[in-house]
């Protein structure tokens, strides 16, 4: 009951703090897919199925004990078709159906209590001579072992959810092989992020692929036709295009420029004549600034990561611009952005955000007068814009500069 109450309070806070992405059409789509994936019958006691989107650029999904399943904007942007979406929902629904949260909570709490008791023994045991020292050592070892068993139990539950998802996809007319592709997609990373994982609550990718493949082989499925696969792909992409756009902006805001660029490419490939999609790609190139499109080897070292963590965004840019590769990358990215802004405006000259993005780029490229023109155009098209004051100040600053 405590867990259920906490779930409700957590959701309320998430909604209030702008953590939930609200899009009626998308929610309806998720609901349709979700209801199809969940086995018929009443939901477990005190739960109700709800499928929602959390605003996070990181690929993640989780289920709350009250039956709410959250998929991140980052995850929805990474997936490629409806079968993959169904596989994620099936996996998460297994956690609710099998009451995994309760089982994990109970088990973890008992183990933590034991860890605390071990800590008490460890603190006082040395006062009791050799026997005491032995007790202290034993207590230390058992504390470490207990921590490890918490993660191991969590991996067990994850495996159970994977197997459930595989069976569900086989039962439905979704392409079950897409579950394996989903695992691989979850490992996709475009950023130079150095994450040291000592404990993992999910099994490793290879293990997941191995045991899920075994499940799929022992339960062969009628192949899904190419036409049906195309339907799953197009339906998924058209329903998630808006959230994908939102997520590109979210990645830019979170300084994950390479991810923003890769996702904007997906948008442009899906709808190449959309001024909005091209604008997002232009924005991603502009924001990429002095960074190369691909992560450079030296960025992946622990040292480089630590240095980056200590810098403000401005300092990081200055440091990159002090190097020849940084300056070269900036030039290339600016050229790409320039071409794309022009294309976006060619397709829709009233695209206010394209004028704004182009103005930022031109200001960055030391072409202030042209930038001012596009700022003015933006204000003409969006007279009520929230950032109107900011843009007017920028124009004033440009006007105050002495002519070159």
């Amino acid at each position: 009951l405590e867990l259920l109450e906490q779930s409700e309070q957590f959701e309320e806070q998430l909604e209030k703090n702008g953590g939930v992405y609200n899009d009626e059409k998308l929610n309806k789509y998720l609901d349709e897919v979700g209801r199809a994936v969940i086995p018929e019958g009443d939901p477990p006691e005190r739960t109700r199925w709800r499928f929602r989107v959390i605003r996070s650029p990181y690929a993640n999904a989780f289920a709350l004990p009250n039956g709410s399943i959250y998929l991140s904007t980052g995850l929805l942007s990474l997936l490629e078709n409806e079968s993959q979406l169904a596989s994620v929902i099936a996996h998460e629904s297994a956690h609710v159906l099998n009451r995994h949260a309760f089982a994990f909570y109970k088990s973890a709490r008992n183990r933590i209590r034991l860890i605390n008791i071990a800590a008490l023994a460890e603190a006082w045991a040395p006062l009791f001579g050799t026997v005491g020292s032995a007790v202290a050592m034993l207590a230390t070892v058992s504390r470490i072992a207990l921590v490890l068993t918490i993660y191991s139990y969590s991996r067990e539950l994850e495996t159970e959810a994977d197997v459930h998802a595989a069976h569900r996809l086989l039962e439905l007319n979704y392409d079950a092989k897409e579950l394996l592709k989903t695992f691989r997609l979850l490992e996709t990373s475009y950023e130079a992020e150095y994450v040291k994982l000592y404990y993992r609550n999910h099994p490793t990718l290879q293990k997941r692929i191995d045991y899920t493949s075994l499940e799929l082989q022992s339960n062969p499925q009628q192949p899904v036709s190419a036409e049906q696969r195309a339907v799953y792909r197009v339906r998924y992409l058209s329903r998630t295009e808006k959230v994908l756009r939102h997520n590109v902006r979210l990645n830019v805001e979170n300084r994950r420029f390479r991810t923003a660029l890769a996702l904007s490419q997906k948008l442009v490939e899906f709808r190449p004549e959309s001024s909005e999609n091209i604008l997002l790609r232009a924005d991603a190139f502009r924001e990429l600034g002095p960074r190369t499109i691909e992560v450079r080897g030296e960025e992946l070292s622990e040292k480089a990561w630590k240095i980056k963590q200590k810098l403000t965004p401005d300092e990081e840019e200055r440091l990159l611009l002090a190097t020849p590769p940084g300056r070269a990358a900036l030039r290339t990215n600016q050229e790409n952005a320039d071409g794309l802004y022009r294309k976006a405006l060619g397709l829709d000259s009233n695209n206010a955000r394209a004028h704004l993005g182009f103005a930022f780029l031109l200001e960055q490229m030391q072409r202030p007068q042209e930038a001012a023109e596009h700022y003015r155009e933006y204000l003409r098209l969006e007279p009520e814009a929230r950032d109107g004051g900011r843009i007017r100040r920028r124009i004033e600053k440009i006007n105050a500069r002495p002519p070159l």
Binding site: Q6, R55, R113, L120, K310, G389, R390
Partner: protein, 231 residues
């Protein structure tokens, strides 16, 4: 027993403040601030582990916001608050915007926590995008507030005494930043800590540390004052 005794003796409060050089010199002035909703996280720590306290976090958040507002008003500042977002699309957009700016502050906040003294060098800025939170240009500065606290259960406290641990009190850490609403520069940063029942007796436990944290915040120069200009 020494660390425990020292802690008992210092179970008061601690606070530190850092000012942007132009704010310190009076070159920049703040008359009106826009108080953003604080981000507060409170957890309960017992023998069986830690649990988030969402409801209590909200209660502390509301009290904290009201108290900061009072302390700022005592310093002759005009205090504005963000209107609650309306339902529907426009309301959602505003919620997202606010969440993104709060996240942006949190990213800088990590650096601020590590090197708060660098505020004196004018090192930190959130960028001029922050001005979207004040589209009418009514405020000179935005106030970001963060608090993170742990409430210990009786058993947990007893066990801490037993193992001669350092955490004998429920404890909350609060940080506040005054950010230029046009440029996004961090003008003032303060951090304080309070020990005691900050959930049950929020006002009693938090008021004094907050007053200390905002002690060095310059009072606004009256509109007629001559403000020195930068060369």
């Amino acid at each position: 027993l020494l660390p425990a005794l020292l802690l008992l003796l210092t179970a008061e409060t601690a606070a530190a403040q850092y000012l942007h050089p132009q704010f310190q010199s009076g070159e920049r002035n703040v008359h009106t601030v826009l108080l953003l909703p604080p981000r507060v996280y409170v957890q309960k720590e017992g023998m069986k582990g830690a649990d988030a306290m969402f409801k209590e976090s909200e209660e502390v958040r509301d009290s904290l916001s009201a108290m900061v507002s009072t302390v700022l008003r005592e310093k002759r500042l005009n205090v504005m608050e963000l209107p609650p977002p309306t339902a529907g699309r426009g309301g959602d957009e505003l919620k997202y915007l606010l969440a993104d700016m709060q996240d942006r502050y949190d990213r800088i906040g990590r650096l601020l926590d590590n090197k708060p003294k660098d505020v004196r060098k004018g090192r930190f800025s959130l960028g001029d995008e922050v001005s979207v939170l004040d589209p009418d240009d009514a405020a000179d500065a935005l106030v970001f507030i963060r608090a993170s606290g742990t409430r210990l259960t009786k058993w947990r406290r007893a066990s801490e005494v037993f193992v001669l641990g350092a955490h004998l009190w429920s404890e909350i850490t609060i940080s506040l930043a005054v950010v230029d609403s046009k440029t996004g520069e961090v003008l003032y940063f303060a951090k304080c800590q309070a020990k005691g029942d900050f959930v049950g007796k929020t006002d009693q436990v938090l008021l004094q540390p907050l007053q200390k944290a905002l002690r060095d915040l310059p009072a606004p120069a009256s509109r007629g004052d001559v403000v020195p200009k930068s060369p």
